[in-house]
C-alpha cells in the first residue's frame, strides 16, 4: 500500500479521515480546521513544539475529548460522536499509566479479561505479547520493579493486547534517557512494521519523528504547517517555520532585487526557480542547510560563489560547525557544517579565507514575515 500520501489511488480510501476538526477550550482555539488523511498501516507522527495541539488532536481521534466541530471517519464510518469504548484503538501515554497494584501480566491482560476469553487463552496471549516486546519471564513483577524502558514496553503490550485497528502513542519515549530512547525507537518502528498496524505518534522531538515516521505532520499553534515524508519535510520545507523546526537552517534576511537575485547584506544570492513568486522590493528570507554549503568542486557551480572568512569553528565530534562571514558583515553570516576530512584538506581554522557556493537547487526562499524562527 502506498505510504507516501501524495500518490493515493482513487479507489483507495484512507484508514482515518479527519475533516475540518476544530477544538476550543473556552475562547482558546487549540485546533483550527484540521484536515488530514491517515493511511492504513503507516506510522504517522504529529510533530510540533509543546502546546501546539498534538495531544488535543490525538485525544480527539481517540474520542477521549470530543472536538468542538468537524468530523472523523475510521474506515469510512463516522466516529465523530462515538465514545472511546466504541472506537478501535490502543493507546500509550507518556506516563505509561501502568496500574501499579497489578503485575505486568495482569496489566497486559487488563483489556482481555473483559472480553470473555478463557483463562488459558488469556495466559497464552499474555505470554505471546511479553515475547513480542522482549519481556519474557517478567509477567509476575510489579511495574515499579521494571526500568523505564521496560515499563514502556509493557504499556505497548497492553495497548496491543486486544489487537486494535490503530495504535495511538502520546510522547511514548520522552520520559526515557537518551540512550534507551534511541534504542527503543528502532525497536518500536520494527514492531510497528511487522504488525502493520496504523500508528499515530505524537512527539516534539524532530529526530524521533525523522527516524521513525513514514509521514510527518508538522503542527504549529493548532494548525498543520506541512504533511510529508521525512525526506520531503527536510528537503523541501514549505514554510520558514518548518525549515527552522526541522534540522538546522541558515536564515538570510534580505530584499528582492532584480533578475531573481536577493540582496542579503553584501551578498547577492540568485534564486533560480525558487524566487519566481516574489517581486522586486519584497522582504525575503533565503534558507540553506549548513551541510549544503559547498566548498569542493566549485568550478561546476556557476552562481552564488563567495569569498568568505572563517570567524569561528566549533568541533562537534564527527564534524565541525563553522561560522562564515564576508568581512565581518553581520547581516550575511553563514553557518556551515564541514566534515573533518574537508577541514583538513582545506586547512580551515579561525581567520582562514575560503570560497564557498550556495547551490541554487539547495536554496529555499520564503516571504519574510518574521514569524516562526528560532523557537
Amino acid at each position: 500500500m502506498a505510504r507516501d500520501g501524495n500518490s493515493k489511488s482513487a479507489s483507495e480510501r484512507a484508514f482515518l479521515e479527519i475533516r475540518d476538526v476544530t477544538k476550543k477550550f473556552g475562547d482558546f482555539t487549540a485546533l483550527k480546521d484540521i484536515t488530514l488523511d491517515i493511511i492504513d498501516g503507516e506510522l504517522i507522527c504529529f510533530l510540533g513544539p509543546s502546546g501546539c495541539g498534538k495531544t488535543t488532536l490525538l485525544r480527539a481521534i481517540a474520542g477521549l475529548d470530543f472536538q468542538t466541530s468537524g468530523r472523523i471517519y475510521q474506515n469510512g464510518r463516522d466516529i465523530s460522536d462515538v465514545p472511546p469504548a466504541d472506537r478501535d484503538f490502543g493507546i500509550v501515554f507518556q506516563s505509561y499509566a501502568l496500574f501499579p497494584n497489578l503485575t505486568v501480566a495482569k496489566n497486559i491482560a487488563y483489556g482481555l479479561v473483559n472480553r470473555r476469553m478463557g483463562r488459558k487463552a488469556i495466559t497464552e496471549r499474555v505470554e505471546e505479547l511479553l515475547e513480542l516486546v522482549g519481556l519474557q519471564g517478567s509477567g509476575s513483577k510489579y511495574p515499579a520493579a521494571l526500568s523505564g524502558g521496560q515499563q514502556q514496553r509493557v504499556a505497548l503490550a497492553r495497548a496491543l493486547a486486544t489487537s486494535p485497528g490503530m495504535l495511538l502513542l502520546d510522547e511514548p519515549l520522552s520520559a526515557l534517557d537518551a540512550k534507551v530512547r534511541e534504542h527503543l525507537r528502532h525497536e518500536m518502528k520494527d514492531l510497528q512494521r511487522r504488525l502493520g498496524i496504523t500508528t499515530v505518534m505524537v512527539t516534539h522531538d524532530q529526530e524521533e519523528a525523522l527516524s521513525m515516521a513514514d509521514r510527518i505532520v508538522v503542527m504549529n499553534h493548532g494548525i498543520i504547517e506541512q504533511v510529508g515524508t521525512p525526506m520531503e519535510i527536510y528537503r523541501n520545507p514549505t514554510s520558514a517555520y518548518v525549515a527552522d523546526f526541522i534540522g538546522s537552517m541558515n536564515f538570510l534576511h534580505g530584499r528582492m532585487g532584480t533578475g531573481g537575485r536577493v540582496q542579503v547584506g553584501r551578498l547577492k544570492i540568485a534564486l533560480d526557480g525558487a524566487g519566481t513568486e516574489f517581486t522586486k522590493g519584497d522582504d525575503v528570507v533565503v534558507c540553506i542547510r549548513p551541510e549544503d554549503v559547498a566548498v569542493r568542486e566549485l568550478e561546476q557551480v556557476r552562481s552564488n560563489k563567495y569569498a568568505m572568512s572563517v570567524r569561528e569553528v566549533e568541533f562537534l565530534g564527527s564534524f565541525c560547525r563553522a561560522i562564515l562571514d564576508v568581512d565581518g558583515d553581520k547581516n550575511a553570516e553563514l553557518i556551515a557544517d564541514f566534515s573533518i576530512n574537508l577541514m583538513r584538506d582545506f586547512d580551515l581554522k579561525r581567520g582562514a579565507k575560503l570560497k564557498v557556493a550556495l547551490p541554487t537547487e539547495r536554496l529555499q526562499a520564503f516571504r519574510d514575515d518574521k514569524r516562526g524562527e528560532h523557537i
Partner: protein, 578 residues
C-alpha cells in the same frame, strides 16, 4: 470491508446538536456515572441545603409558622442578654485563638525545627484531645479547679466557671487541630533560604522574623481561622464549665431545649453561622495562595543540633505534654475515685452507668453502632463523590456544582446543622420525616457534618493517581467502575482507612450536631456524658467520657495497624527487585 463499500467522507455535520448526538452513543457506564453523581448531589441537597433553608425560613416565622419578617431578629438584637453573648463569644474565641496559636506554633517549631529528642512521642501525645468529646476537658478542669477542686488555690480566688475555664478547656480541645496545620506550615520550607541567611551571617532572631515567620504565614492564618471557628462553634466546653457566662453556642441550646423557642434558636443559629462562614471564606482564600507557594521545588530543611535551643524546646514540649496528659489523667482519675475528693480509693462504681441512667450502657452501644454506620456508609459515599469529581469524564458542570456543595458542610457549625435538621425533618408533611428521631438521622447528620474534610482527604489521594487510567480503561473497553474497583480503591486504601477512622472517632465524640436529634432510644454516649454532668453525676460523666476515649483510641490503633500492613503490601508495588 473493501474500499468500494465505503461511502465518501463528506465532512458534513449530521443534524441535531453534538450534545444530543453524543447522548445517543452514551454507554451504560456513563448512565451509571450520571446516576451516581445525581444521587449524591440530591442527597447533599436533601440533607444539607434544604435543612439550612428550613432554618432560614424558621428565623422569619413565629412559633405557629406565620411569616413575621425580621421581627425575631429585632427581638434578638434588643435583648441585652443575647447580644451580650456575641461579645462573650468573640472575646473567648479571639483570646483562645491567640493562646492556642502561640502554644501550638512553639510546639510545632520544636517538632520541625529543632533536634530535641522524643519527637514521635510528643506528636502522639498531642493527638490525645481528638479522642475525647470536648466535654472531657471541662469536666477535668472542674475536678482540678472547681468548687471542690484539688488545686483551686492556683486560681487566686478567680472562678473556673466562666471565661477562664472555657478558654483553658478550649485550648486543650483545639490544640491538635491547630498544631497539625502549624506543623505542615513549618515543614514546607526551603532550606536554601536558611543557608543563604547563614552565609550572610544573619542573627537568629532576624532569621526568625524575616524567613521563618513569613514562610509559615499562610499556615498560621489558616490555623488561626480554624482555632477561631472551632472555639466559637463548640458547645461542650461552655455548657459544662461556662457557669453564668453565656456564649452563642449555649444560647442556642437554651433557647431550643430549655425554652422551646425555636424561632429564636434559628436566629441565634444564623448569627453563629456568620463567623463560621466568614472564617471559611478566609481559609479558602489563604489555602489557594499557600498551594501556589508550595508548588516550587524546595530543598527540605534539616535542623542542626543546638544544645540550649533543643533543651529549651524539650522543656516546653514536656510541660505542654503534661498539660494534655494531665487533663486526660484527671478525668480518668476522677472516674476511678470512689468519692471525689474525700475518698480517692480505686473503684469501678462510676462505670455502672445503668444505676444512674437507664440508657447508660445502651447509649454507648448506640454510639458504637452509629459510629460504625457513619464510617462505612460515609466512606462509600465520600469515595464515590470524590471519584466522580476528580476522575469523572463528562458532566463537567454537574461535577463542579457537586464539589461546591461538598465544601459547604465545613462552613456549617454542628449546632446549626442539628437545628436545621430539627426544622426540616420534624415536619410531618415531609416524607423524609420518617427518619426523624431514629439512628439513621444521626448517621446522616454526622456524615454531612464531617463531609468536607473527608472529601478533601479522598480528593488528595485520588489526585495522586495517574489521570490517564480512565483513558486507558476506556481504550481497553473496560467500564470505569471496574477500573475504579480494581485499581483506584486498592491504591486509595490508606485514605479510605484514614477517612473511616476520622468519621468513627468524630461520630463517637461529637455532641453539637446530634444534641437536638437523639431520642431516648437512640441516645449516644457523648450525650450521656452531657446529661450526667447536667444532673451532677460528675464521676459517671467522666467515666463515660473515658469509655469514649478508650474506644476512639482502639480504633486509632486499629487504623495504625492497618496502615502498617498496607504499607508492607504497597511497598511490594514499589520495590525494584520484586
Amino acid at each position: 470491508m473493501t474500499a468500494l463499500d465505503i461511502p465518501a467522507a463528506t465532512g458534513i455535520e449530521p443534524p441535531g446538536s453534538p450534545a444530543m448526538r453524543r447522548l445517543r452513543h452514551l454507554k451504560a457506564e456513563s448512565w451509571i456515572m450520571l446516576a451516581g453523581i445525581v444521587a449524591i448531589l440530591v442527597a447533599l441537597i436533601a440533607f444539607m441545603a434544604l435543612p439550612l433553608y428550613a432554618l432560614l425560613k424558621k428565623s422569619v416565622e413565629d412559633d405557629k409558622g406565620a411569616f413575621v419578617g425580621l421581627a425575631n431578629f429585632q427581638e434578638y438584637f434588643t435583648s441585652a442578654g443575647l447580644v451580650q453573648s456575641i461579645g462573650n463569644s468573640l472575646t473567648i474565641a479571639l483570646l483562645t485563638m491567640v493562646i492556642a496559636c502561640v502554644l501550638a506554633f512553639a510546639f510545632a517549631y520544636g517538632l520541625t525545627r529543632t533536634c530535641m529528642p522524643f519527637k514521635r512521642v510528643f506528636r502522639a501525645i498531642a493527638t490525645i484531645p481528638i479522642l475525647a468529646p470536648s466535654l472531657l476537658p471541662a469536666i477535668s478542669l472542674i475536678y482540678l479547679f472547681g468548687n471542690q477542686g484539688l488545686i483551686k488555690g492556683l486560681l487566686f480566688g478567680e472562678t473556673i466557671y466562666g471565661p477562664i475555664g472555657i478558654m483553658i478547656g478550649m485550648v486543650f480541645y483545639i490544640f491538635p487541630h491547630v498544631l497539625m496545620i502549624m506543623v505542615t506550615a513549618l515543614s514546607t520550607t526551603d532550606a536554601r533560604l536558611y543557608e543563604a541567611a547563614d552565609a550572610l551571617g544573619t542573627k537568629p532572631v532576624r532569621v526568625f522574623f524575616t524567613i521563618t515567620l513569613p514562610g509559615a504565614i499562610y499556615g498560621i492564618v489558616s490555623a488561626a481561622v480554624i482555632a477561631f471557628t472551632l472555639t466559637i462553634t463548640d458547645f461542650g466546653v461552655p455548657k459544662v464549665i461556662g457557669g453564668q457566662y453565656n456564649v452563642l453556642a449555649t444560647d442556642i441550646y437554651k433557647q431550643v431545649v430549655g425554652q422551646q423557642n425555636f424561632s429564636m434558636g434559628a436566629v441565634v443559629g444564623l448569627v453563629l453561622l456568620m463567623p463560621a462562614l466568614f472564617s471559611f471564606i478566609i481559609d479558602r482564600h489563604v489555602q489557594k495562595k499557600q498551594v501556589a507557594l508550595l508548588s516550587a521545588r524546595a530543598v527540605p530543611y534539616h535542623p542542626k543540633p543546638h544544645k540550649t535551643r533543643d533543651m529549651a524546646f524539650l522543656g516546653y514540649c514536656t510541660v505542654m505534654a503534661m498539660f494534655l496528659i494531665g487533663i486526660l489523667g484527671t478525668a480518668a482519675f476522677g472516674s476511678f475515685a470512689k468519692f471525689w475528693p474525700y475518698d480517692l480509693s480505686f473503684s469501678l462504681i462510676h462505670y455502672d452507668f445503668d444505676a444512674v441512667d437507664p440508657n447508660g450502657w445502651s447509649s454507648f452501644y448506640n454510639s458504637l453502632r452509629m459510629a460504625a454506620l457513619t464510617a462505612v456508609i460515609g466512606v462509600v459515599i465520600i469515595f464515590l463523590g470524590a471519584y466522580f469529581v476528580e476522575k469523572g469524564q463528562s458532566f463537567v458542570r454537574l461535577r463542579g456544582i457537586f464539589h461546591m456543595l461538598a465544601m459547604m458542610p465545613m462552613a456549617v457549625p454542628g449546632l446549626v446543622l442539628g437545628l436545621a435538621y430539627v426544622f426540616f425533618f420534624s415536619v410531618p408533611e415531609n416524607p423524609l420525616s420518617i427518619i426523624y428521631a431514629t439512628l439513621p438521622i444521626l448517621v446522616v447528620c454526622t456524615v454531612v457534618h464531617f463531609y468536607t474534610v473527608s472529601h478533601l482527604t479522598m480528593l488528595t489521594a485520588l489526585k495522586q493517581i495517574d489521570k490517564e487510567f480512565e483513558s486507558v480503561s476506556a481504550s481497553l473497553k473496560v467500564p470505569f467502575y471496574k477500573t475504579m474497583l480494581r485499581v483506584h480503591v486498592p491504591i486509595c486504601l490508606p485514605a479510605v482507612s484514614e477517612v473511616m477512622m476520622y468519621l468513627f472517632v468524630n461520630a463517637m465524640t461529637t455532641v453539637s450536631a446530634v444534641v437536638f436529634l437523639y431520642s431516648p432510644d437512640t441516645k449516644l454516649a457523648a450525650i450521656t456524658v452531657l446529661n450526667l454532668d447536667d444532673v451532677g453525676d460528675q464521676a459517671e460523666a467522666a467515666a463515660m467520657a473515658m469509655i469514649i476515649v478508650a474506644t476512639s483510641f482502639t480504633v486509632r490503633m486499629l487504623h495504625a495497624f492497618l496502615m502498617k500492613s498496607l504499607n508492607a503490601r504497597h511497598s511490594a508495588w514499589r520495590t525494584r527487585s520484586a
